[in-house]
């Protein structure tokens, strides 16, 4: 399961929607086996557009849980100094380097085995063979 996927996963329990704690899920860093896949190609424009759609706070939170403390608290901005909105062709070298790092984190980094839980109901979900299982047991379904 790619790191980026964590930005789109919440608790399956319907009642937790009424809390503010069902997203992101809490990842147990010590129980998560992290793998890198360097074959995933870097596409700056793709990543810029993806970044428009992510919840940055959730990325920072999950990265910390998995042992990465290096992210800035606010989402990196790539557009304000370049007139045209969000086009990769205008990026400076520094900006490209930042994007490249994010590419490694969001798209090349995966959780192969591990678990995560809801911050509200504490239900634990498992990741096995790279596949998270968000089905609920009958008593919660």
């Amino acid at each position: 399961m790619k790191f980026l996927t964590t930005n789109f996963l919440k608790c399956s329990v319907g009642a937790c929607d009424n809390s503010n704690d069902n997203f992101p899920l809490r990842y147990e860093g010590s129980k998560c086996q992290i793998v890198q896949d360097e074959t995933v190609e870097f596409n700056p424009q793709f990543l810029l557009n993806i970044l428009d759609r992510v919840d940055w706070n959730a990325i920072v939170t999950v990265a910390r849980e998995l042992g990465n403390q290096s992210l800035p608290v606010t989402k990196p901005q790539f557009t304000h100094q370049n007139g045209d909105a969000n086009t990769a062709s205008n990026l400076t070298e520094d900006e490209l380097a930042v994007l490249q790092d994010l590419h490694v984190l969001l798209l090349q980094t995966s959780i192969a085995e591990g678990q995560m839980s809801c911050r509200n109901c504490n239900h634990i979900y498992h990741i096995k063979n790279g596949i998270p299982n968000l089905l609920l047991p009958p008593h919660l379904a």
Binding site: S12, V40, Q45, R53, I131, L134, L136
Partner: protein
């Protein structure tokens, strides 16, 4: 109850037939492919009921998360390409926040919910996950498929159990054909102690007995074959959509129908979230 029916005739079955089913699901349908190829670069979407993930790799410039209730099918997807983003989840309890995705697809899935209310609820749930203005492409099996192998057509019952015949695994094939079932019939009777003049009658009788043995054997084999077929036939529940019905369900679910049509024995609708 609806949930129990779906558990028995959908969820359980797909795990039982997962690998065989997956072998038959490799050809992407053109209109689905076209829809995916027209999503803008960096779009984020979901494929609800993605099965073995045949639509997850169509457009490398979008981020698409596939989910299915069947862990068996999700494992098939992961085995086909471990770059696919897949997860096991209930289509009625998708683990995504609302108003998040640019688009959704759900190909030949909604027809598995066993009441109209639940099918509308399922479409509504998919729409809840996409942003306002975002589009979902939804396919359901058509009642009108006169020319197909199944031959369903107008006027027939819409709520059906559709057989899936599993092919025998190699192991089963081996053991059933390997059994020394065809017990070697003697090619001639033993006439050692039979007086000469009784031999003709004895041989006639022997032939009759051998023929009866042979017929009994054929009958037994046929019965065995039938039992195997029965054991290997799994039934899945479907609601066969008649023309116009999917549009109605999409509107009931709060969506706006942007386009619709028929492809590969299915009705499809492009529905926009208001």
């Amino acid at each position: 109850m609806a949930e129990q029916k779906e558990e028995e005739y959908v969820h359980k079955i797909y795990n039982e037939i997962a690998s065989h089913f997956s072998e038959t699901r490799y050809k992407p349908w053109p209109i689905v492919t076209d829809f995916l190829e027209h999503r803008p670069m960096g779009s984020v979407g979901i494929d609800v009921g993605c099965g073995n993930g045949k639509y997850l790799g169509i457009n490398p410039n979008i981020f698409i998360i596939g989910s299915d209730h069947s862990s068996g099918l999700i494992e098939c997807a992961h085995d086909i390409d471990n770059a696919y983003n897949v997860l096991v989840a209930d289509g009625m309890k998708l683990p995504h926040r609302e108003n998040t995705f640019d688009f959704a697809i759900s190909i030949a899935v909604v027809h598995h919910w066993s009441t109209r209310e639940r099918r509308v609820q399922a479409i509504n749930h998919i729409l809840s996950k996409i942003k306002s203005g975002g589009e979902a492409l939804i396919y359901c099996w058509a009642l009108e498929q006169r020319s197909s192998r199944r031959g369903y057509q107008e006027g027939m019952e819409q709520d059906v159990l559709v057989p899936w015949v599993l092919h025998e695994t190699k192991k089963e094939k081996h053991s059933s054909s390997d059994k020394p079932k065809k017990l070697k019939l003697a090619s001639a009777p033993d006439l050692t102690n039979i007086p000469l003049k009784e031999r003709a009658a004895f041989i006639a009788n022997w032939r009759k007995e051998e023929e009866q043995k042979r017929l009994a054997l054929i009958k037994e084999e046929a019965k065995e074959k039938e039992e195997t077929a029965k054991k290997n036939t799994k039934y899945r529940y479907y609601h066969l959509y008649k023309e116009g019905e999917l549009e109605e369900d999409c509107v009931s679910a709060g969506g706006k129908v942007k386009g619709s049509g028929y492809e590969k024995d299915n009705w499809y609708v492009v529905v926009q979230k208001q």
